[in-house]
Amino acid sequence: MDGQNGIPRALVIGAGIAGMQAALDIANAGFEVVLVERQPSIGGHMLQLSETFPTLDCAQCILTPRTVEVGQHPRIRLYTYAEVDRVEGKAGRFRVRIRRLPAYVNWDLCTGCGLCQEKCPAKTSSEFEGGVGLRKAIYTLSPQAVPKKPVIDPASCIYFLRGKCRACEKLCPTKAIDFEQRETFVEEEVGAIVVATGFDLYPSAELGEYGAGKIPDVLTGLQFERLLSASGPTAGQILRPSDGRIPKEVVFIQCVRSRDPERGVPYCSRICCMYTAKHATLYKHRVPDGQAYIFYIDIRSAGKNYEEFIRRAMEEDGVLYIRGKVSRVFAQDGKVVVWGADTLSGRPVEIAADLVVLATALVPDPDAHRLAEVLGLELDADGFFREQEANLRPMETDRPGIFLAGAAQSPKDIPDAVAQAGGAAAKVLTLFRKWGGGGPSGR
């Protein structure tokens, strides 16, 4: 820093599992962290998951302590429902402008009692539930949200749409509802930045041959997670959306637009093989007399205890793996017919399924382009943040002081995202210590 000390304070963008881990690793080493999350609460995609592979730990159970720890950490300043709007300066002294979206709720007054959500008359499709469940117009992502403060969605709020209702305002015991709220800006100064903006899923609307978005019993993997989840719309029961019946034949399709340079993305999405095996396993645990099928091209179970997990799915739960892609899915006679191929027997395969689950490709967060511009970073050809060098510098970027963690750099599973977040945190900590921050050195 040209002989000058930088500010030993970090900005972490994105509060999914990678961002939270990076923030905690930095904060637990004694430094302040500004954590910015676009959603109303933290936890990211992991909070949407039911159980996690390969141990089948419940995601809520292992994650909520983390979200609580982040929410209560004395050295983490949390801005949710906010985005990084402008960044100036350089490593050691970045001036960051954060845009806080209007929640239409004064969070300082709100106690999170939940009365407004209970009484709100407007229901709409819930993004958190992947569209297979409903939420109110005033909502928190989940009952365990951190912070447990609701926001009003103007697109579904009756007052915003039609100019009357204001039921929440009347009922709120602390008078926290504020329909006049506008977006606000705050400025923060930090010395280093960790980008942990995660991933999104390939849009269902563009999966014509699979009937996604058209046939109700064709779901994405994330929607199926919500069906499996005890806190999901069916309280963990596997009921198919069209008629609420328990599906007895379930087909899982991998590589939906992954490894598909012609019509999707050229890369492998890395996590689908394992979560699909988990889906099939959990399905069998819930519906023991059902049959699960998985269409795959290559089974990629290359993590610790992953291969063993797949073997159990095949051998103990009788999940039938079929090596071949599915070309078409269509509705017929109350069934969802799947046309696939078994390249190993050399026969075409048709399955009249009750439910079809698509492992859609992971794509970069839709905001990555804007954010890359704000940060002065490069994206790779696929739209993920470009690391400085693929082998030895996977957490570093071309801009000193800005680091990458988790799926923002490329798709990765939870342990890999956590390890990389720790790695990014270490880079930040090393900088801060060099600038003379932190506690005593040496023995």
Binding site: G208, K214, F330, A331, Q332, V337
Partner: protein, 293 residues
């Protein structure tokens, strides 16, 4: 308005009903079809090898169209439409191939003619809303299944008529006629095409799948714009009735026939008597338009 028109071999012979119903219908809509004076066969199958000269026939028709001073060509038969449109693209895009073909047929054509099918022609030139107003015999209560087949949809980037996985143009057209279009899974699957010649058993199974799922989805008849699809779907139904238990015959209309009926035209020369499954009983259900009779 005069519209240059390429009927193709089959419409001039074995599918004259399609040709006649087309001419009559478009006349009723105030359009005169002008048959290309010296048209020739389009080639019937887009060449899949690097042998460009097989495109010459289709290109010749386009050259004629351009020579008439016209900038578009209406092609009704799906097969001809597919071949001609793709040949036109080659002429419009590929320098070396264009040069070779031009040299061979002694022309200087650059793909300037737009190849249109009845569906996009009606949508863009007349408008489905306007068409709806012209309908004097609304086909209300008639549940028809649009059959796209291959040639109206694929290859998607070359044909670009509709979304190849979830098309709706044909259904939109039928709706304008008052029809209740029936969606069914196999409207874009292949009927078997020329396998009728080389592997009739295989073609039969393909068309059976299309017919049976259309019926299961509630269709009372199928509508197509391809004489070969028509042949594959219509003719073997007797055989299907023998082979597959529970099979019920399903009439197959040409798109132009159904248009003519809705426009209240005299269907006497529409060629219904040549269909294997007689579609006329179904039409008897539709009230005859007062304006005509």
């Amino acid at each position: 308005m005069v519209v240059p028109y390429f009927p193709g071999c089959t419409l001039s012979t074995k599918a004259q009903g399609m040709d006649r119903s087309a001419r009559a219908s478009l006349r009723a809509l105030g359009l005169e079809l002008q048959e290309l004076p010296e048209w020739n066969c389009c080639g019937a199958a887009f060449p899949l090898t690097t042998d460009d000269l097989r495109l010459a026939g289709a290109v010749r028709n386009l050259v004629q169209t351009a020579a008439l001073g016209q900038d578009r060509l209406l092609v009704l038969c799906s097969t001809c439409y597919n071949v001609t449109k793709r040949a036109n693209r080659v002429m419009g895009e590929d320098g070396a191939r264009r040069e070779r073909i031009n040299f061979f047929i002694e022309a200087d054509y650059d793909g300037r003619v737009e190849v249109v099918h009845l569906l996009d022609f009606l949508r863009d030139e007349i408008g489905f809303e306007m068409l709806r107003e012209k309908v004097v015999r609304p086909l209300e209560g008639l549940r028809l299944a649009a059959y796209y087949g291959c040639y109206l949809l694929r290859p998607a980037e070359e044909i670009a008529l509709d979304d190849p996985e979830n098309p709706h143009l044909f259904e939109d057209f039928l709706s304008a006629l008052g029809v209740e279009p029936v969606e069914y899974p196999h409207r874009g699957e292949c009927c078997g095409s020329y396998l009728a010649l080389g592997a009739p058993e295989v073609a039969l199974e393909s068309s059976y799948r299309i017919l049976s799922t259309a019926r299961a989805s509630g269709a009372e008849a199928i509508v197509t714009s391809c004489p070969l699809c028509h042949y594959n779907l219509d003719r073997p139904q007797q055989e299907m009735a023998v082979r597959y238990g529970g099979f019920h015959p399903l009439p197959v209309f040409y798109i132009t026939q159904i248009l003519g009926v809705a426009l209240g035209l005299d269907t006497g020369d529409f060629g219904f008597e040549k269909h294997y499954v007689d579609p006329r009983p179904l039409l008897e259900r539709i009230p005859v338009a007062a304006a005509i009779y």
